[in-house]
């Protein structure tokens, strides 16, 4: 699964740490999600969508093979 959290963060101008605080996870978790190593739970995806004020589909995208 692909995501554009890095871009969304840049638009909103917040750091990984700030995003992590907003959705109550560790900064390392944000880092692993951004680098595509970890696919977050639906709860976390929805929380991020709420922070960025965008639908989940605009942040996360299915890849071939998913």
């Amino acid at each position: 699964m692909k995501n554009n959290i890095r871009v969304q963060r840049a638009i909103k101008n917040i750091t990984q740490a700030e995003l992590a605080d907003l959705i109550q996870v560790s900064r390392q978790t944000i880092n692993t999600i951004e680098s595509g190593k970890y696919v977050p739970s639906t709860v976390l995806a929805l929380k991020m969508a709420r922070v960025f004020n965008k639908p989940v589909e605009e942040i996360f995208d299915l890849e071939e093979g998913d």
Partner: protein, 149 residues
């Protein structure tokens, strides 16, 4: 995702203290062959006749197990779903490795030595888990520092 089996973070320190004290006491007394206190309790039936009736060993082992369990099952300060995943992966890895070691030992260690090995092997799953999980956690923290923003 709540993991109800986990206990608060502060128990990790307590676990380490209990483990180091009990394992240390056991190692020192058995290595230097020091006299150990005799703790007798006649309420417990002596099923096996070769037991000397001293509960010292039982008490020490209980503390070692309690210590290791407290360390293994206490939350990290910032426990979240990714850390839970790391935790589960580490358990999986540790069970596999432990049984791998046991399998090899079955075919390479015999007789009395196997018994001695099995005594230590009782704790392998927990020890391997603690090492593996902390290693993964350390690596995760180091990675995170390198590419902020």
């Amino acid at each position: 995702m709540k993991n109800s089996l986990l206990i608060p973070n502060k128990f990790k320190v307590i676990g380490w203290i209990v483990f180091v004290l009990s394992a240390g006491t056991y190692s020192v007394t058995s290595y230097f062959d020091l006299p150990v206190p005799r703790i007798m309790l006649t309420l417990i039936p002596r099923v096996l006749s070769w037991s000397d009736g001293n509960l010292w060993d039982e008490i020490i082992l209980s503390f070692v197990i309690i210590g290791l369990l407290l360390i293994s099952f206490s939350k990290e300060k910032n426990e979240d779903e990714y850390i839970s995943l790391l935790r589960l992966k580490s358990w999986q890895w540790s069970v596999l490795v432990s049984y791998g070691v046991l399998f090899i030992a079955t075919w390479t260690i015999y007789g009395g030595m196997f018994l001695v090995f099995m005594i230590y092997n009782m704790l392998t799953v927990l020890l391997v888990f603690i090492i593996k999980f902390n290693f993964n956690f350390y690596r995760l923290r180091k990675e995170g520092i390198s590419d902020e923003k």
